[in-house]
């Protein structure tokens, strides 16, 4: 069951990467990165249990924090850019 959940999360991560590469607007990309981050947290804690090493939970916690910090930072600075949705981000 642990392995099945890990596989499901890997599939979702691939979907999020596809959205991040496609993403028509900047915010789609940010959303994809955010989702990717939360899924990484889950993946690492699952892997810790699969491989029987609970120290991995420390890393998962750092991820949760760092992901939040970077998303907030991106949003804060995307205001400074005065980004308009009309210009397609390439």
């Amino acid at each position: 069951m642990l392995i099945a959940a890990t596989l499901a999360i890997l599939v979702v991560m691939i979907l999020a990467i596809i959205r991040g590469v496609l993403g028509p607007t900047l915010y789609d990309r940010i959303l994809a990165v955010n989702m990717f981050g939360t899924k990484t947290v889950l993946l690492i804690s699952l892997l810790g249990f699969v491989m029987g090493r609970p120290e991995f939970l420390d890393i998962a916690m750092v991820y949760a924090l760092i992901n939040f910090v970077s998303v907030i930072c991106i949003l804060r600075y995307s205001d400074a850019f005065g980004f308009k949705p009309q210009e397609k981000d390439s």
């Binding site: 959940a5 596809i18 889950l42 804690s45 609970p54 916690m61 949760a64």
Partner: protein, 115 residues
């Protein structure tokens, strides 16, 4: 007791993975940014909570369970806040949602002009 624990943990993991997958399909298939964010934001929190609870039920020692609880609390705080901030920033930078009425009027116009 062992079997009850393992069955309930497996159930939690199953629900969590299902929610994850539906969120992943949602982020890929929905038409505009706000619906995509809805799909991710709604499923993400519950999926993370379910998977973490499923792991907690299998937890080997109390320190691991404590750390899982910390991660769970953090996710519960962080992911709605991040979604909120994202939506707010998108609105503030005038990314308007795809609204149905606009489409209808556009369709009406396109119907009208040829006739």
């Amino acid at each position: 007791m062992e079997t009850i624990l393992s069955i309930s943990s497996a159930l939690c993991l199953l629900i969590g993975s299902f929610l994850c997958l539906s969120g992943g399909v949602g982020i890929l298939r929905f038409p505009d940014f706000y619906t995509r964010m809805h799909a991710v934001g709604v499923t993400d929190t519950l999926a993370a909570a379910m998977i973490l609870i499923g792991l907690m039920l299998q937890g080997p020692e109390w320190i691991a369970i404590l750390k899982l609880i910390m991660i769970l609390l953090m996710t519960l705080f962080i992911s709605p806040t991040a979604s909120h901030a994202l939506a707010q920033a998108a609105i503030r930078n005038s990314l308007w949602p795809l609204i149905d009425t606009q489409q209808e009027t556009a369709e009406e116009k396109s119907h009208r002009t040829p006739s």
